[in-house]
Symmetry: C2
Subunit: 579 residues, 2 copies
Amino acid sequence: MGHIIGSLNAGELLNNELTDSLSAMERGYSPLENAIRAMDVSVCEAFSKSGALAPVTFAPGDRTLEPNHEVAEAFPNSIAASKNIILTAAETMTSKVTGKRIAVLFSGGPAAGGHNVVVGLKQILGPDNTLMGVIAGPKGLLRGNLFEITDEHVNEIRNTGGFDFLGTDRTKIEKPDDIEKVRNVCREQNLDAIVIIGGDDSNTNAALLAEKLFSDVKDDGSGVQVIGVPKTIDGDLQLGDDLPISFGFDTATKIYAEKVGNLLRDTASSLKYWHFVRLMGRSASHVTLEVALQTHPTITLISEEIRERDIPLSEIVDIIAQTIIERAKKDLNYGVILVPEGLIEFIPGFTTMIDDLNDKMAQFKDELNGKSIREQLLFMYSKLTQSHGELLESLPDSIKYMLMADRDEHGNLPVSRIETEAMLSNAVKARISELDANVKFESLNHFFGYEARCGASSLFDSSYTYNLGATAGSLILDGRTGYMASLTVLDKGARPLGIPIASLLDIEMRKGKPAKVIEKALVKLDSQAFLYLQSRRKLWAEYDFSSSPGPVQFWGPTARQMPKTVALNRGYSSLDFKF
Amino acid sequence: MGHIIGSLNAGELLNNELTDSLSAMERGYSPLENAIRAMDVSVCEAFSKSGALAPVTFAPGDRTLEPNHEVAEAFPNSIAASKNIILTAAETMTSKVTGKRIAVLFSGGPAAGGHNVVVGLKQILGPDNTLMGVIAGPKGLLRGNLFEITDEHVNEIRNTGGFDFLGTDRTKIEKPDDIEKVRNVCREQNLDAIVIIGGDDSNTNAALLAEKLFSDVKDDGSGVQVIGVPKTIDGDLQLGDDLPISFGFDTATKIYAEKVGNLLRDTASSLKYWHFVRLMGRSASHVTLEVALQTHPTITLISEEIRERDIPLSEIVDIIAQTIIERAKKDLNYGVILVPEGLIEFIPGFTTMIDDLNDKMAQFKDELNGKSIREQLLFMYSKLTQSHGELLESLPDSIKYMLMADRDEHGNLPVSRIETEAMLSNAVKARISELDANVKFESLNHFFGYEARCGASSLFDSSYTYNLGATAGSLILDGRTGYMASLTVLDKGARPLGIPIASLLDIEMRKGKPAKVIEKALVKLDSQAFLYLQSRRKLWAEYDFSSSPGPVQFWGPTARQMPKTVALNRGYSSLDFKF
């Protein structure tokens, strides 16, 4: 049974030059992996001033953050030390720091470029300090599951994608017990610092650990430094010029854009399909906006706009249906519609209506029993609050039916499991047949997600992450704690920054309780990236303006592009990163 | 309403250098599209012997096909002319052929490289002949919807992917009426030849047209030549050394392989998911086999093997479940499982059982009414033929329930709409909980399909198609009809061939009737590509041997690779194509 669909012995495999070379490509040694592993990484000027790679010191910059007062009280050590000032790279470090032991871990969903953070960190720390890898994320830190990272490891993982070198998980280290466990691991392993590579929640966690490990961890009264590195393919961890983007966003959006571009060509070839594409990105629509700017699809929905303009679902469906009908009249009855994963939670009243529906369906379980779905709906309208009842009643039938589906064991309809793209295409189909029964409508639904989190890291992401790793290492050698590594002016050499994480935190309701967290950065409707979309989308909807950005390139004229949203929002004059 | 989610006027878009360059990238002018459009295409020696690009003449080669006797009788003109001999490129054409009018059309699903067939064709025909493009496939030919293709068109479409330059459709030209329409269009447009770019069915159609238009189309008694060009991403149009592969297969499998490689890295990073990936490819498993050789997934199902070895579904489920349990014991509870789209039709007895079930469910509609699904199943076992009843009874519950789902308006359960990957993962989940309830199992289902049919054409596909176009043009200028263009020895300069299509046809049952068609080439279990998989898959299942082939490259050391299955099956010593 070891064999998968066992041996057949139908013929003889000829062993030759080719079969030998194929076997050698296994375990991460594909021709491309070999080639990019050997490529040089761009190092920003700050780290290469002295000719060789060298860490930098930091000095207060001219930007100060204004933390929430309540947060400031909860992070007294961190706030006192940072004074809420963003640090900026000063000069090449002249004093030699040696003997430090630093642990690095991945936290949360994987993203392309993670390995190069480790590579940059290891190389800036140099041979006189020790870098330990934590296996399988925060859970591994709690268990003290660490090993020493060697130069051989670095040579193997350089420029390769994913978090597979260490693994990751989503454990949060918050409870006093867990923090005590970390203190013990720090003592046992004699750690001086921890680098946490993760998204908004993981960096929130880094801020908490920095505060709690600020001092008195070790026998001499010293603490353990904690530095965060901003990762998330969603792009919702960003802070203007001070943090232009999180890493992983560029690779993921380039992969989605390639596929959306391909679908646009496909549908302009077969001339009959409407593709509804849901794109990963839990809350914010940055991914969808970037992919739209790369490909110019027929219709792009941006969740933030729908919330801000208070556009009901029925109107969204109507706009899509009318666009399709208009195009059909011009013999352009095909296209691609982009739907951000988080859309539903931004539709006015939608999530509270579903909560209400969950409650009332549980409450009136017996009355609903035996009724048809249509009868159940009629019964429910009056049981919901007036506005929720009206919202439910206003929805297309196909969506109503979807919302009356079976609940999970807790009585909930899990919003994240609703296939928004299918919900929309069903509703659009129904609406088109109401508006103009002669218009044909064939749709295909897609979800583009997991296949882009661990793509081969784009040159932007490999370069960015290598320098983020070097920045994190420099912050440690410079004695800092509670900072997130960042880089600014990506179009002009890139300058390392340290952002005081506690100063970023705000109070947000999470599961009904106030929590101190980094607020997710949403798409701003006055941002240049959104305004660009807005200025072009009428043309894109009415005619074919699509482009196919194609697969991520590692050589050739297009290899050094950064995300379009970043270049637009930061006011850069070109798409190429310069460092 | 013209605007999509209308204007917001939340801020002002700054017009600058960057926004200008972004607008210039629309309508197929992304940086990558611009760069590859300007790239040279590799021309095989036959066409470049004289220094400049020149057509070749053909002579009988040493390979003869043996047509089915009944087919031969139905294609007297074609068989008499070709004598079933495969033509091979002879020498540079010395006589100048001028004044010919040739129409070219796409037929069936789109595939990368289609445009370069047109480019190669146009350039080999030269300025003294006229190339007409048929809009929207065979349907456009019936309507006489043609336009002249110019050098400007060629410069715009060169090396770009998809069929969007002309569009395509799936109309079959078979009925006498339709053939008469084509004859009329040929007369009206004064056509001398038609080039049909398509898959097995479209080339079957080309053979029929070649036979019917062999002579007496025009007033002088002459006919219209018809030449086919082999396209299909499924890879099931191939003929050993004489037709190593259809075009589009390389680009599509490279795109799927990139994504599967990314999932393999992703799951080795997050350490918890089993990804079940269904890969496009209607019948044959060539796509799945190629992707497996590129990525080394945990488990690969090959439909042809399952049929040949008569492996019941329950055993497939069992093998997957046991592999997962074994890996879980080694802390490797994650992986990727490849499922060919056509799998179900290859599972012994499955499709005939479903047909039987459809019939009996219609017959006993009243008896089934009001019964629970479990009761319906118990009732049905005895109504099916004994072997079908036993097969149904042997299936995992989740699959049984899926098969009892609602029928379409014709009373059928459409096999192609069964989400085989979901069916398998559900059944595997149930089986694991029976075998070892302590083993956790989290799965995610994927279908990789449409996003790869119109990807940016790989260098292999662009070069192959350009030369196929030049071969098709040469066959026309050399006065041939009823041939399919091909190239052989792709590792040694590539030599143009002409394959007599009628000689390929065989009798196959289609919708219950015998039809003369090109038989689909299935994966052979004694082929080197399959044997290679067989020799390695035990290792791939038990440990992590995955590689990430990464995105298709147009520059750099990996840009000139051909499919691994082609190189293995043809006995080439390297993966790089040489022409």
